[in-house]
Amino acid sequence: MFKKNSDVMFEIVKTLVAIAISLVISFLILVLVSKTPVDAFFKLLTAPVTKIRYFGNVLETMVPIGFAGLATSLLFRTGLFNLGTEGIYYICGVVTATVASQMFGNAFLDPILTILISSVFGGLVALIPGYFKAKYNTNELVVSLMMNSILFGLGLFFVKTFIRASDVPSVASNKFMETTRLPIFIPGTRTHIGVIVLLVVTVLMFILLFKTKLGYSIRMTGLNKNFAKYSGMSAFALFLSVHFISGFIGGMGSSIELLGMYERFTWVALPGLGFTGALIATLGKNNPFGVLLASFGIAYIRVGAEIMSRTTDVPVEMAAFVEAILVFLIMSQYFLKKWRDRSLLKEGDKANGTV
């Protein structure tokens, strides 16, 4: 128990130090590129909590990357390096756009049905790399990346050819039906109930991983594939289920993002949300609640950077520095390890002294 606490403590300290270091470096970069570095830095850090609308922005931003993080973390946890959530987001966005313009007009049923169709579609698409991985051990990293580009091409073609709106000059789908729109959750912001759904899915994911048989076999397979095989677990069924669930969550995230934040489908490039999901899964150590926390953190930084970019001369992409440094430091096994070893050694000495 004692050891467990010190493990958790160590992770917390490590994360805090990593955040501090990335902030210091960010400040140095701001000094280089901005005429008003202090102002910019201050905005980056505090802007999101200055207005309820801004904080709402953080929650909105958190939703799609949170879903993407959960979807990806499930794959990572099983030991699958699949980065296909990006493509799933795109193609499920197209599906959502198609479905959302043809609904019944019932404000309760429409969003649920749209999201469900998109989710199932995402799950089915994810079965493609899943099947080839399970059956032929095909390199899922390469397959999923190729699929991202392929799904993007197909999706964009579909949008342009079949559901393109004639009333707007840019490439966009027809308008979604009003009834498909997700209800606002915090008045005065655009924060929709997707946030609640994200929380629910996070909890469900936790239960799946730590309370169910499937979760047990996911964890064991991820920790040691040979051990899982030796124990009699079928990688084939497992890989298929995991891919389906991951694609399902991805499709859900994409659909919720579009129904909550958009009136039409307007993505003419890959949205980048899936890749961010991989970052978030990594930062959250593939633990559902860790992922939730990481998605909040990244959303906070991105919204801070966004507000900063509106009022200063620094572009929003500034957030990339903070994110990259965070990933490297938090993923590192050796960062702060010496400090920890020394403190463990001291603990050990103390323990020895008293015994």
Partner: protein, 519 residues
């Protein structure tokens, strides 16, 4: 004392996790002697040698080589000074040729940057000739036998001009005959002025080959003796502090009404190149331990994997309690009563980063006892885990501890506990006590006998001849993918004969081998 070439002085090694591997160990090695370092597994022999070879750094103490204190940052520095090491696990790359492997790290070059492969082949050939090693230097490592691979390892150290050659448990993988050949070579090295450091836990070998012997226990040295001054009994006493009991005959129950639990018929594994397994026929009956002896790499692993369902085979059949299990998945084999202690526990037997309780249920996690249709019954799991931990005396504070943080012996106890929990009809025990402490090994040996006495069938594979000979009721010898001998009792064969069968020099007649298949 100027004939001392290498002197380890008060070496202490503490690992990061606070484990003491060595405590104030001092050993002097003389020029031109064969000096054995003996002790049971975990006594710190390998660690002290890794320190002498620069692979590990000592926490305290110093190394004096040829009268000068030295500090090795890595093994390259030790190699440069003339210390070579043949590791227990060979450090060879399968796709490289013998010549490439020998010169690797110190290649002959032309034009400064390019490897002179002709020169490499020539040098390797000359070296092999000089020391009377018969080996094709152009062959790929993957095509060599274990004994030949070891020769390559020794040639590597000689190529690097090693004056001190450390051999870590070199005979563990050899047949008695190959061991004899190795000893002749070692004596030749001594004549040529090399110092040979021989690490082993096989006392009769040590007694036979050494000039001097250092005994280690619990990370400390118990002194260095002239080989002629110390008896095997005395060594045993120093090493374990008590007499080894090796006979299980008195605790083996006599059982009636036995029947064949496992029946393997005409099993064959054929690859494009050759037969890995051919014409395998045998049965294991209830209430008996069938041992499989053989030099590693003669098809035992493949046979076990085929029975356990870890790999497919070309033809033949496997029956468990008269049910054909040849093609059914691992899970169903287990449900039909098969349990399996795998050879490599870290690779197959556990997930090191998961808790003990996660590891102790893996092979029956979906049995109704501990899981429903969807959810796991965490309470029952906890109870089972706690029970097993106390029943198999696994030393840990809690079932939630990461299994990877336990010692090898305790990890193996968890594996055994798990396999026993399903009350198996057939237990396959592959190298069940490899690399674990003697207390845990004894415990596991007794567990195996208990299971046998309960009327279960046990198939035992071990590279440790003593273990197979002590535990088994019946014995099979495998060579080159075939069964070459079957013995109704381990008393029917001498060590020397066993060696001849293991090497493929002797082979029983077809009828004699057929006896292994008993109905």
């Amino acid at each position: 004392m100027d004939d001392i070439i290498l002197s380890l002085q008060e070496i202490t090694k503490v690992y990061d996790n606070g484990v003491f591997a060595n405590r104030k160990v001092s050993i002097d090695f003389k020029k031109g002697e064969i000096h054995s370092v003996v002790g049971e597994n975990g006594a710190g022999k390998s660690t002290i040698m890794k320190i002498a070879f620069g692979m590990e750094k000592q926490s305290e103490g110093q190394i004096v080589y040829k009268g000068k204190p030295v500090q090795f940052e890595n093994s390259m520095e030790a190699i440069k000074l003339g210390i070579g090491m043949v590791h227990q696990h060979f450090m060879l790359i399968p796709s490289f040729t013998v010549a490439q492997s020998i010169v690797l790290g110190n290649e002959p070059v032309k034009n400064k940057f390019f490897v002179d492969y002709n020169q490499a082949t020539k040098k390797a050939t000359e070296l092999a000739k000089k020391y009377n090693f018969e080996i094709d230097v152009k062959a790929k490592i993957e095509t060599l036998s274990v004994g030949a691979k070891q020769k390559v390892e020794i040639l590597k150290t000689l190529y690097q001009d090693a004056e001190v050659i450390i051999l870590d448990e070199p005979t563990a993988v050899l047949t008695p005959q190959e061991t004899d050949a190795l000893f002749i070579e070692l004596k030749k090295f001594r004549e040529l002025g090399h110092t040979v450091i021989f690490i082993s836990h096989k006392l009769n070998e040590v007694k036979q080959i050494s000039d001097r012997i250092t005994i280690m226990k619990n990370g400390e040295s118990c002194g260095t003796y002239n080989a002629c001054d110390i008896s095997i009994e005395k060594m045993t006493e120093l090493i374990v502090g008590r007499e080894l009991s090796t006979s299980f005959e008195d605790i083996k129950k006599k059982l009636d009404n036995t029947k064949a639990v496992l029946a393997v018929e005409n099993l064959e594994i054929k690859t494009t190149k050759k037969h890995t397994l051919n014409n395998i026929n045998f049965t294991v009956k209830s209430g008996e331990i069938l041992g499989i002896a053989g030099v590693q790499g003669n098809g035992q692993s493949e046979l076990i994997q085929a029975i356990a369902g870890m790999r497919s085979f070309t033809s033949g059949s496997i029956h468990l309690n008269d049910v054909d299990i040849s093609t059914i998945p691992i899970k169903q084999r287990r449900q039909k009563g098969l349990a399996y202690i795998p050879e490599d526990r870290m690779q197959d037997g556990i997930a090191a980063n998961a808790s003990i309780s996660d590891n102790i249920i893996s092979t029956y996690y979906d049995s109704p006892e501990i899981s429903g249709k969807v959810f796991m019954k965490n309470k029952s799991i906890r109870t089972i885990a706690d029970n097993l931990i106390s029943k198999f005396s696994v030393k840990t504070t809690s079932a939630k501890t990461k299994i990877g943080s336990l010692s090898g012996g305790n990890i193996q106890k968890v594996v055994v506990a798990r396999e026993y929990q399903t009350d198996p009809q057939l237990l396959i025990a592959e190298q069940p006590t490899r690399g674990i402490d003697i207390g845990s090994a004894n415990f596991i040996h007794n567990q195996l006998i208990d299971l046998r006495n309960e009327g279960r069938a046990i198939l035992l594979v071990s590279a440790d001849l003593t273990e197979v000979m002590d535990l088994s009721d019946k014995l099979i010898v495998m060579y080159d993918g075939e069964i070459v001998a079957y013995f109704e009792s381990t008393n029917d064969v001498t060590d020397k004969d066993l060696g001849l069968y293991m090497l493929g020099v002797k082979k029983q007649s077809e009828e004699e081998i057929r006896r292994a298949y008993r109905v």
